[in-house]
Amino acid sequence: MSSLLEVSGVSKTFDGFRAINDLSIQINEPELRAIIGPNGAGKTTFMDIVTGKTIPDVGRVVWGERNETLLGLSEAEIANKGIGRKFQKPTVFEEQSVRQNLAMALKNPRGPFAVLFHRKTAQGAARIEEIAEEVGLTNQLTRTAGELSHGQKQWLEIGMLLAQDPRLLLVDEPAAGMTAEEREKTTDILRRAAQTRAVVVVEHDMEFVRRLGCKVTVLHEGHVLAEGSLDHVTADPTVIDVYLGRADA
């Protein structure tokens, strides 16, 4: 296990609101990590900063063995370094087939001309089959993504992430709106993915996090409040105070 992503001393203020306040998180490879926290704790802003959507006011975001900084790179450049992101709301290309969605995400040259003259390969097709199998969409490959159920769309998006073959997956609330059975399957997919890569799951749902059975980071007001096993953090009185003690937790 080595450090893959290191976020240190990062702060970000939006119109006077401190979304992230001196945040430091370190993610190893491979690792499965859950980030929990109440609304407004800065979970999504954290993802925005790592993926290049938001530039922090201060702090460092360092990636990989060669300790490259990710700050100042575009979203596409960061994605090509090996960071995949799943949005909270399932965002797949609804008008296109499941296969086309996966094919677009498949790790291949990303330039316009390479894509224009792209030829379908047997390896590519096999990889798509493999990923579809992994996320349980084998029978849905020819369907239009818009016709899929909510849970299937979430899996398709996770499949698109896997197709990118990233070293780090950032997954925002994958279980939102899922049935108990679908949640279980999602847990399995994420746990398997985390055997070879780093997977960071942002989640509200404690039951889901418990099932992931991984190290947990609790965010509060843009800062790490506690870190450790779920039992450890849930026993922490400050955590109970700000998060678990609340009625809506």
Partner: protein, 388 residues
């Protein structure tokens, strides 16, 4: 791959067959072929319509597929027309000047010839000097290069600036419209070097083919327009059919997702914007010799808005929809405004279509947008079942 792509896309084969059939009917019915069933002016109208269809297909790619509502593609069309028009006008004037000067005893110096051509062309705006931009006007190959280069470079620079700053949606439309308006206003000036509001005229006379009848010339341009439309259609259909099409449609539907997949969205938009601008320029270069005249009013923003209306009525996101929309609306437009449609007397009011056509067009645009967002092309979905 190209072969496979033609075989697997039925709509392309249907379109190409329909185009070939239409072209053959017009060609054999034209005055040039001796049948005389189709008048030369109708051949010109149909040839021009094919050019409009081509620019509409380009518009459909940039708007219907890539989601960029450009209100500048008719400007690129006009630039193509100006580029070819400059050569047509120069070469023809040169021919006339040479033949009149040849009657003189003392041979004219090249400067005298150049001045004579200049005063012929620019006398109308009170000048006789050739502006810089006419530097290549003597050469057909160079002006044909301009047909491609000028719209291409303009689109490249403009698109690079706009897409890099992540200007999207209605703001981008406004920017493209501003570009179009600026270009048109510039061309209206007498010292723009392109004869101000007079524009370029006499473009139907092709230098070197003075003895050829307009019937034959119009047929040649008609056939060239049909060929250009066919090739342009195949090119764009190929682009939007493959993985490129996936990415481009992805950008239209969710730009951020495409970015996070690792695609540099700006590069793709720039590619589509520039390529469609170049094709628009080529369409314009074929259109204006058939129209005979080009002036800055042709480039005015309203023309680009019409282009968007054609594509919307025909059906965005399907290339044959753009062709149907452009052909139908532009032909109807010339029928209604050309006095072809009979006036309707309501007793208390006389509806004259020359005045009311725009109202009708506007209403149909609103109706299509509200009730048939897929446009006329959407009707094909009911006829043809999608192969699963």
């Amino acid at each position: 791959m190209t072969q496979g792509f033609l075989v697997t896309n039925r709509s392309i084969r249907w379109f190409l067959m329909a185009l070939a059939l239409f072209t053959a009917v017009v060609a054999f019915g034209s005055e040039a072929s001796g049948a005389g069933l189709i008048s030369t002016s109708l051949v010109k109208t149909l040839g021009k319509t094919l050019c409009l269809c081509l620019v509409a297909v380009a518009m459909d790619v940039v708007w219907g597929y890539c989601g960029i509502l450009s209100l500048g593609h008719f400007a690129f069309f006009g630039i193509g027309g100006y580029a070819v028009g400059m050569w047509l006008m120069y070469a023809r004037t040169e021919g006339i000047v040479m033949s009149s000067l040849s009657a003189q005893v003392i041979p004219s110096t090249p400067t005298e010839v150049s001045d004579a051509i200049g005063s012929q062309i620019f006398g109308v705006v009170g000048s006789s000097d050739f502006p810089m931009i006419w530097a290549f006007a003597h050469s057909l190959p160079l002006q044909l290069l301009m047909v491609v280069l000028v719209p291409g470079l303009l689109a490249l620079v403009f698109g690079w600036l706009a897409f890099r700053s992540r200007v999207t949606g209605v703001y981008l439309s406004i920017l493209t419209q501003a570009m179009t308006l600026a270009l048109s206003l510039y061309l209206f000036q007498n010292d723009s070097g392109l004869r101000g509001n007079n524009g370029l005229s006499g473009l139907q006379n092709i230098p070197g083919f003075e003895q050829t009848s307009q019937a034959t010339i119009s047929l040649v341009f008609f056939l060239a327009s049909a060929l250009a439309l066919g090739l342009g259609y195949i090119l764009f259909a190929w682009i939007v059919a493959g993985k490129m099409g996936s990415v481009v449609k992805g950008i239209r539907d969710n730009e951020a997702r495409v970015r996070f997949l690792g695609y540099r969205v700006e590069g793709y938009k720039l590619f589509v914007f520039t390529l469609t601008a170049v094709v628009s320029g080529i369409a314009g270069a074929l259109y204006y010799p058939q129209a005979g005249i080009i002036n800055p009013a042709e480039i005015a923003p309203i023309a680009s808005i019409y282009l968007a209306v054609w594509v919307a009525i025909g059906g965005r996101g399907r290339l044959y929809g753009a062709v149907i929309g452009a052909a139908l609306v532009s032909l109807l437009s010339s029928w209604f405004t050309g006095g072809g449609a009979p006036d309707v007397n309501l007793g208390f009011y006389l509806i004259q279509w020359t005045d009311w056509w725009l109202v009708l067009l506007g209403l149909s645009f609103v109706c299509v947008t509200l009730f048939f967002p897929k446009g006329i092309g959407g009707l094909f979905d009911y006829i043809v079942r999608k192969p699963s």
